[in-house]
């Protein structure tokens, strides 16, 4: 029973552990300027994938809340947004570290960076909107509406604009908003994909724990 219910958590943990150990020890292609720092790709890019997955989860629960307003859906949506924000912040931090080594400064004017910063700002606005409404039902409804509105417009921003930018200093660009996976070394793929899957599993785990925590807190406050 334990394995059946918790197996995916163990797999997630093992995948992340694998990506850390193998990611730091395998041979990587020696590219000019980047050199060994290419290993950050395993950790930096998987943060963004995890953030996107969690924000998409939040969107799904927001839509589902509007169709059928149940409090637990609202909790699921906001906790997914919180976990997504946390991973987005980590993505920003690892990216700035990396940029400082390869591009010479932590922040450069690049469509990817602008998109990421806007996404994080939007979710900060979402949290502030939630905290400024007292009524539970109203808070859930209005923040779900804002989440959907903001996410769809953001999708245009992140999905369309970088494709039109003439140049981006992110590698593998010219058309691809995410990552030039085609140009990725096959050995690195063996680490990169498990890292993405592992981190998403870990994020889902954190999300489930946070949902339980918030539900308990709500029950206590109702006493």
């Amino acid at each position: 029973m334990f394995i059946k219910e918790n197996g995916w958590k163990i797999i997630g943990g093992l995948l992340v552990l694998y990506s850390i150990i193998v990611g730091l020890s395998i041979q990587v292609p020696q590219l000019p300027i980047i050199y060994e720092s290419i290993r950050n790709l395993f950790y930096h890019v998987s943060m963004w994938f995890t953030m996107t997955a969690m924000f998409a989860t939040a969107l799904i629960f927001s839509i589902s809340y509007l169709r059928n307003p149940l409090l637990k859906k609202d909790i699921a949506a906001v906790e997914a947004a919180r976990v997504g924000f946390f991973f987005g912040f980590l993505g920003l931090a690892t990216g700035m570290l990396w940029a400082n080594f390869t591009w010479g400064k932590p922040w450069t004017n690049d469509p990817q960076l602008n998109g990421a910063a806007t996404a994080l700002l939007t979710y900060l606005a979402y949290f502030i909107l939630r905290s400024s409404i007292e009524d539970q039902e109203k808070k859930a409804r209005i923040s779900a509406v804002y989440n959907i509105f903001a996410f769809v417009l953001m999708l245009v921003f992140i999905g369309v604009l970088p494709r039109m930018a003439e140049h981006s200093i992110h590698p593998g660009k010219s058309g691809n908003p995410a990552l030039g996976v085609k140009g990725l070394d096959p050995r690195m793929r063996l680490v990169f994909y498990p890292a993405v899957v592992g981190w998403i599993m870990i994020a889902l785990w954190i999300w489930k724990i946070r949902i339980r925590l918030t539900t308990i807190r709500q029950k206590i406050s109702e006493f």
Partner: protein
């Protein structure tokens, strides 16, 4: 459609009944242009000119849209709720706000040009960009105003909510309008115009779909 026109009509009537509110918005915009002139002493490089005018236009648009829903009292909102379809209401508000923002931005641009000099080489294109930009701003800002109006405790909520969502639109507008500043340009205008149209129609479509959920109390 008849209801939408009726609702726009009553928005215009209400506005004309309180001329001081409208003149307050115009004065606020004129004041920002004047401050910009003082800060730069009238010598604005073309790039800065472009950024400056759009920032002023954005903030006056936010200022103008703030009253789209915040201006109506609770009782009046309840009265409309019993009378009209929410989708008609949001459509009417968006159209009215777009016209207001367009009017405001034409006046602001004229005064801005008067003080800071004219950097535009292709005026027709600039006016088209103003038109499309006002539509997008009208759509996004009217909807965020509707969200912010639900909660009266936080006055800065409107700008907090709208700034991150408006950022992509503003970036597009600034890039597009930069192309009107030089006669020879190689920028991909058509693609950006298409993206602007997509953003405009998407913001209005989303407002159309989501507004009924905000309206029911």
């Amino acid at each position: 459609m008849k209801y939408v026109f009726w609702l726009i009509h009553r928005d215009v009537l209400l506005e004309l009944r309180q001329p001081h509110v409208l003149s307050g918005i115009f004065l606020h915009t004129l004041g920002s242009v004047w401050i910009a002139y003082l800060a730069f002493k009238g010598m604005v490089p073309a790039n800065t000119w472009n950024g400056l005018i759009w920032i002023i236009l954005l903030f006056s648009a936010i200022h103008a849209s703030q009253r789209a829903f915040g201006g109506d009292s609770m009782g009046r909102r309840l009265y409309y709720y019993t009378l009209a379809n929410p989708r008609h209401i949001i459509l009417a508000k968006i159209i009215y706000n777009t016209l207001l923002i367009l009017f405001l931005s034409i006046i602001t641009s004229s005064v801005f040009i008067l003080f800071n000099g004219n950097a535009i080489v292709l005026p027709a294109r600039f006016i088209i960009i103003l038109l499309l930009g006002s539509t997008g701003l009208g759509g996004i800002l009217t909807f965020t105003s509707a969200i912010a109006a639900q909660e009266l405790r936080n006055f800065s909520l409107m700008s907090i909510l709208s700034l991150p969502i408006v950022a992509p639109l503003l970036l597009l507008l600034i890039n597009l309008s930069a192309s009107t500043l030089q006669p020879m340009n190689t920028q991909p205008i058509v693609g950006m115009l298409m993206a602007l149209l997509v953003l405009d129609s998407l913001s209005i479509a989303m407002a159309w779909v989501l507004f009924p959920y905000l309206w029911k109390e």
